[in-house]
């Protein structure tokens, strides 16, 4: 890399905080033993204590709910364990129906599709124009056969936060297990699991300036899942394999480093970005809910232009963002989230996601809006779509 990248894709992944690396280092070079039982040797006991501490600290950030925190390789694995583990445990005993929203991220969506291929019935709930799940449809779709509901806490693309509290209450009342993917809201939005009816929660480290390759699944007391990986007895005999202790320690450190002030700063910066774009660039539509949204996400459609062209121009100027345009994806499919909120392909094609992180400054926002203004006007000038409105 020749010049510094100004990174606005923190929902995809983040730059790790140096302090996280410092916390991890001793567990790579000094306390490198596997976690042994309390009757093992001292280096192993030290490793186990570090693992237990990390677990405890993350649970405490979730409000100390009664249950287990299972470390995984990341949120994709967590959601896979949650959905397939619950279904495997309950199928044959209860029903065969699962409910998800249609704007879930791929780990949940494709786990649901995989269950469907195995013969399960899956309901994909519609969302309104802001991305909120249709609660009437949700209640109506519940039947005696329903064994699992998986509805995300916040959306990966447009940042909309679901009413997890009400969804949890409905699940409790109907005795249905409730999983929520909180990859994009964990630590960015207050979450007290001791007060929410969430039975399983997916979280990840690399979206909050922690290391890649580590995530976790919270499993509430009394909810059981089938063993996910066979082998030893690690992770409560649910996920075998040598524990990623440096990762777990780094994860806990990353959790510790997120503060309310930081989230407030990101929220203000995000509002500043959206306002500046709206003031300086015509024909834009912000996507997602105006209030019920994570503080670090802005998603904006720039009409009459295509997203990949915007991201490539931005990239050449040193800014990293992502888009819901089909041309940006390997599959050439437009964003299922923007289509899910009732947007047409044009809206998806021109959508750009900006996600902020710890290292973004106000100048970065000024810089990217200045660049966007030039790029969008250049692309609109060559677009046959400009029509009367833009001229």
């Amino acid at each position: 890399m020749e010049k510094e990248t100004i990174y606005f894709d923190n929902a995809a992944s983040t730059r790790m905080d140096e302090r996280v690396l410092s916390a991890m280092k001793p567990y790579l070079f000094d306390v490198y033993a596997v976690a042994t039982s309390e009757f093992g040797y001292s280096l192993g006991i030290e490793a186990r204590e570090a693992l237990d501490d990390a677990r405890e600290n993350i649970l405490s950030a979730l409000g100390n709910p009664a249950g287990k925190l299972i470390f995984t390789s990341g949120s994709t694995e967590s959601s896979n364990i949650a959905i397939k583990g619950v279904v495997k445990k309950l199928s044959g005993k209860k029903g065969n129906h699962v409910i998800v929203s249609k704007i879930e991220d791929f780990p949940v969506l494709n786990s649901a599709k995989s269950l469907e291929r195995e013969g399960f019935k899956v309901t994909y709930l519609d969302v309104d124009k802001y991305g909120l799940v249709d609660m009437d449809q949700f209640k109506d779709s519940i039947s005696k056969e329903t064994i699992l509901v998986s509805i995300q806490h916040a959306n990966q693309e447009i940042g909309t936060i679901q009413d997890i509290k009400t969804i949890g209450e409905i699940c409790r009342k109907n005795n249905i297990v409730f999983h929520s993917d909180a990859t994009h809201s964990f630590m960015r939005v207050p979450m007290d699991l001791s007060k929410l009816g969430v039975d399983l929660l997916t979280i990840s480290a690399h979206t909050i300036h922690g290391p890649k390759g580590i995530g976790a699944l919270f499993l509430r007391e009394g909810v059981s899942i089938a063993k996910w990986i066979d082998g030893g007895f690690q992770e409560f005999d649910l996920r075998a394999g040598v524990e990623n202790i440096p990762g777990a320690v780094g994860f806990a450190k990353a959790v510790e480093l997120v503060t309310e002030e930081e989230n407030e700063r990101l929220g203000n910066l995000r509002d500043y970005l959206i306002e500046k774009v709206q003031n300086e660039i015509p024909y834009v539509t912000p996507n997602g809910h105006p209030e019920k949204r994570v503080p670090h996400n802005a998603n904006i459609t720039f009409h009459y232009v295509e997203g990949e062209s915007i991201t490539l121009h931005l990239d050449m100027k040193g800014f990293s963002v992502s888009t819901g345009s089909a041309c940006f994806s390997k599959s050439l499919e437009a964003s299922h989230v923007i289509l899910g909120i009732g947007g047409d392909h044009e809206r998806a094609h021109g959508s750009v996601r900006f996600t902020l992180g710890r290292f973004n400054k106000k100048e970065d926002v000024d810089g990217i809006v200045k660049a966007l203004k030039e790029i969008v006007s250049q692309l609109r000038a060559i677009s046959p779509l400009k029509g009367e409105k833009v001229r």
Partner: protein, 211 residues
Amino acid sequence: MNFPYNEKVLEHFKNPRNVGSIEDPDGKSTEGSPACGDMVSVYIKVEEDAKRIKDIKFESYGCASNIATGSIITELAKGKTLDEAKNISWQEASDALGGLPKIKTHCSVLAVDGLRAAIRNYEEKHGLIKERISTTKEIVLKRLRHVMNPLAGLDLVRTNLITGIKVENGIVEVTVDLPEGHQFANNIREEIMEKIESLWDINKVIVNFNG
């Protein structure tokens, strides 16, 4: 820096040649639609005697490869006779750009189609279509290959959405395997009409949805 395209493509993307529209063009076309993602308009001015393209401009609502191909195709076509320009292939355009990613064929082929359609438009307007071939099912099918299925980003034929074509007494009837109330039904209907109506012996186009 590791960009997804080679330098030549990036250069044409950043500074596309022959951009804009021509007032009162001799030939004009629009391929693709916003519903499908990419869209290209091509305008040509033709030297009447020599049948040579003396000016060409394009507009693009599309991704980088779409813009770059539009740019290179106008460079390649300028000064060529209509017959020469008609034969410029996607491969030639791609080669002139030093190669395009394969997955981007769909986005870039649109510019090539746009040029050919603008030439055809000129020829139709000037009565230059020499062989007046009667429209057949095959001809209709060929044109439907240029109508996109917005759900897949590929054309209707390739995605098996065309379940019936009838050509009789100047009337073409096309059946699409989508429900009448489908979100893209109207877009698709309009595009089919546009592509088929211009055939010289067709007076009416009927599009049915029965998915």
